[in-house]
Symmetry: C2
Subunit: 225 residues, 2 copies
């Protein structure tokens, strides 16, 4: 399949073709009228725009179950990430290979970062250690941090942090599950009990049920502490 139309791509992605064309147009005019998009060229252009053509060395700090899972995760290499080092505070881990990479002790953290020109760090430590690790990473030159520890990290301006909460996706599922149950109940009791306030409390958040398996706005932005 050398070319693809916006219609085909849109169907595969579960969006409408106008949106897809408009989005692509922001990257440039990479399509051909009457024909569609050249697949190979399009993939290259999008990859470049997203930074997939670059090599990003990353370090993973905290080699417990999660750190090991991340180290073994195959998806990284194909997206331009290279695990430059695995770091753990436990001296008995030092030297042990995980996913074929020997674990290094956290004393080495600063020199590893500097020698490999690492800008991206992954924190998979227990909550208690996360802020200290974060501070050391930043001091050594890391400017982007992916945090799996259940703490909010404070960082200086210019450093990006993204926090991944493994339970938030479950919570979103439970939220919809609850709605499903509620709708059944409402359907049974001919005229359901009205919601306390505005009618759009029960808004159009039904999933498209199409190919939509991604994390996106399905839940109010504000959560309890």
């Amino acid at each position: 399949m050398p070319t693809v139309s916006s219609e085909e791509l849109a169907a595969a992605a579960g969006v409408n073709s106008a949106k897809l064309r408009k989005d692509f147009s922001y990257l440039g005019s990479y399509g051909t009228r009457g024909v569609g998009y050249d697949v190979e060229y399009l993939v290259y252009q999008i990859s470049r725009e997203l930074g997939l053509t670059q090599d990003w060395p990353v370090v993973i700090v905290g080699i417990g179950n999660l750190g090991a899972a991340l180290a073994n995760y195959g998806g990284f290499a194909s997206r331009g990430f290279r695990v430059a080092a695995l770091i753990d505070a436990d001296p008995s881990m030092a030297g042990k290979p995980v996913a074929g990479i020997p674990v290094q002790h956290s004393d080495e953290l600063e020199s590893i970062i500097r020698e490999n020109g690492v800008h991206i760090g992954v924190i998979a430590t227990p909550a208690g250690a996360a802020q200290e690790v974060c501070d050391r990473l930043v001091a050594a030159g890391v400017t982007s941090i992916l945090n799996f520890a259940p703490t909010v990290l404070s960082v200086p301006d210019g450093v990006d942090v993204r926090k991944v909460d493994l339970s938030i996706e479950l919570q979103i599922l439970a939220f919809h599950e609850q709605r499903k149950a509620g709708e059944e109940a409402a359907a049974r009791t001919a005229a359901g009990v009205p919601a306390p306030a505005a009618t759009n409390a029960t808004d159009g958040a039904e999933r498209t049920s199409a190919t939509d398996q991604g994390p996106d706005g399905d839940v109010p932005a504000v959560m309890p502490a």
Copy 2:
């Protein structure tokens, strides 16, 4: 602190107070004019709306590093999730306790689901096994699936799937990292090279740098295959 104002909450959440008040108003009128929101009551109302007051039994299928990490994750219990069972296809895992819960063989999958009234399943298997596990979960009564395997699952209507890709967050960081580098370069070359197309290609996506550490719309919705 018995009560809290929309202003205080908004500052803590990194949003503006009007938005917060409007959002809360969709749940009902739980505040008091001149006073603010009663913290305990507010937490309860939001928890209820999000389904946190319910007990959700979940099963985790695939007890490798990631499955074990999930089983050990403390955040689940506090959000109303109860790990009803751990399931793995490897017979040598059977009976072995992980996070204090004995692993069960996948032959038991259907009976575990039925006996525990499980509606939510977590798939942490290799990609190859995911669709089969998914089909069995659905056949046994699961209607919400959290998929960590790098495959898109097909499910019948009425079943929710959320796919978690551990590398997508890294990719978002790399995307911003690339922009940081690009901006520096542009700043150095007095008048930077113009983007191929529209001016808003480089849009206002700078992170607020405030308390914003969550996954939210920072990246185009359409990704390469």
